[in-house]
Amino acid sequence: MEEILEVLEKNSKLSAKEIAEMTGKGVEEVQKSIKEYEDKKIILGYMTLINWEKTDKESVMAFIEIKVTPQREYGFDKIAARIYRFPEVKACYLMSGGFDLAVIIEGKTMKEVALFVSQKLAVQEYVLSTATHFVLKKYKDEGVEFEGKEQDDREAIII
């Protein structure tokens, strides 16, 4: 059990001291493990989950299905790299099933995303087709429900 990872995955703000206390490990041991995870790129970063809909920021997200022709020697990896290097691409996965690459794009407007898909993705050599699905509402991301989180409503009871 990689308990330190399990704890950090839920809350990256915890200090080594707090994690040490929770897990019953020494502070130095925890610091050393975290450093090792970072060095080995097991921990890749510390993000913050933000519900942008509650801010004034204009943003739109799309899920793109891409069919490609795999290349001799490189398979899907090289064409995937050409795609995921664009900063607009937030995530890129190789898929089984009806299409090959699943790509998540973020942009300011639907038009911006559509232009990006048509001008940067669809025109790539080896890309056979794209299908763009816009995200209308986020209910849950990274295991966190965006709304309707159950409150602690336990009532006082004798024991």
Partner: protein, 389 residues
């Protein structure tokens, strides 16, 4: 007609709960952190809730068999065998009850009455004494000691046994101390009991919640199997307190006797809760593991927190309670809890609510979020320092 005269003395003589006043104070205050309630803060895992909703959609809204759905009884039997090496026949050795509480009540009502003694180790869950009194029997309290890690020792047990002893309550993992009994410790108790006609009522509701050591059931000792009534349920392990569902297992003769009370008083446990319980036993291994790991982290933080404040705190190995000694503050348990609540707005429960020998201790439940635990510890630390200066 004086209504008070109509009430049975054995009911009237049971004192009102001493904890009630704290909840009354809480209702008047804001921003209180309660470490008082003994129930999980987790919501029942969704797969369990969903299974129950589906059962309602399908129209499973009728009575079940008195002893409970046979499918559920089979799952309970499999679960107990798999995890604790105890075998029960689902046909005639298991009753699905309305929580572990009903199981305790019907077991005592089936077994004891005036003239019988029930040995109750304390500190422990308040219902044992109450149910013993309802049945008209006499509670014989054994005071567990911090220096024994709140375990029941053979010596304490031997001293409590009289010719009138009929039942021993065996409440481990323990509420409120968090003590557990290991295999060796149970073996020593079994040696005292094996040639005596005493039934053990083993309340194993916290069996899933142990930290480091796996729970051992006294019923897994062959010489104790027939003499043990095993009580457990879904409330604590699966965060299902509101569903009111538990079970009791034992020798067919005893179960048959308990079933008589159960079928007249209760008929059967709520059917939708029974469907939820089937799902809990079938598919919740992962969620339980996750909850236990989280409880363990909270336990570490809380126990360390109390120790850093200078309070002696025995290491709880089960349930979800810490039971620190507050004797160093010079306050009684009641004074400590009342002052802490009024000055720092943190609720813990006085140890003497669980028996006189709990005086000098308080119970703090760590089934609440880590943030709240950390904040509560800060406030308690403030309180203790303000007492010293």
């Amino acid at each position: 007609m004086n209504m008070e005269d109509m009430i049975l003395p054995k009911i009237k003589n049971i004192p009102p709960s001493g904890i009630r006043k704290y909840f009354d104070i809480i209702n008047e205050m804001e921003n209180v952190i309660s470490l008082g309630i003994g129930e999980p803060d987790f919501v029942t895992p969704w797969n369990i809730r969903e299974a129950s909703i589906y059962s309602l959609e399908k129209g499973h809204t009728h009575y079940s068999a008195n002893a409970g759905l046979i499918e559920l009884r089979k799952e309970i039997a499999d679960y107990l065998k798999r995890n604790f090496c105890v075998s029960y026949n689902p046909e005639d050795q298991i009753i699905v009850t309305v929580g572990g509480s009903e199981a305790i009540d019907i077991a005592l009502r089936a077994l004891v009455g005036p003239g019988d003694e029930v040995i109750i180790p304390e500190p422990s869950f308040v219902a044992y004494k109450g149910c013993t009194a309802f049945a008209g029997a006499t509670p014989k309290v054994v005071n567990l000691r911090a220096e024994d890690n709140f375990k029941l020792t053979p010596k304490l047990l031997e001293n409590a046994i009289t010719p009138k002893t009929k039942v021993l309550i065996f409440p481990f993992p323990n509420n409120p101390t968090g003590a557990i009994m290991t295999k060796d410790g149970i073996k020593a108790i079994v040696d005292v009991l094996k040639d005596k006609n005493i039934i053990v009522l083993s309340d194993e509701i916290y069996a899933e919640l142990t930290y480091g050591k796996k729970h051992v059931s006294i019923a897994s000792f062959p010489e104790m199997k027939d003499k043990t009534i095993l009580v457990s349920g879904f409330s604590k392990a699966y965060a299902m307190t509101g569903w009111r569902i538990g079970y009791v297992c034992g020798h067919p003769s005893l179960i048959s006797a308990m079933k008589k009370i159960h079928q007249y008083a209760i008929m059967c446990s709520p059917t939708m809760s029974q469907y939820a319980a089937i799902e809990a036993l079938k598919n919740s291994y992962e969620s339980v593991g996750e909850m236990v790991r989280e409880y363990n982290r909270r336990r570490n933080v809380m126990v360390n927190g109390f120790r850093k404040m200078g309070l002696q705190c025995f290491e709880p190995q089960g349930a979800f309670y810490a039971f620190p000694s507050i004797k160093s503050t010079g306050l009684t348990s009641d004074e400590f809890c009342e002052k802490l609540l009024k000055t720092e707005k943190v609720l813990v429960i006085p140890g003497n609510a669980f028996g006189q020998c709990g005086e000098g201790f308080v119970r703090a439940c760590y089934a609440t979020s880590m943030d709240k635990i950390m904040e509560a510890l800060k406030r308690i630390d403030n309180f203790i320092h303000s007492q010293v200066s």
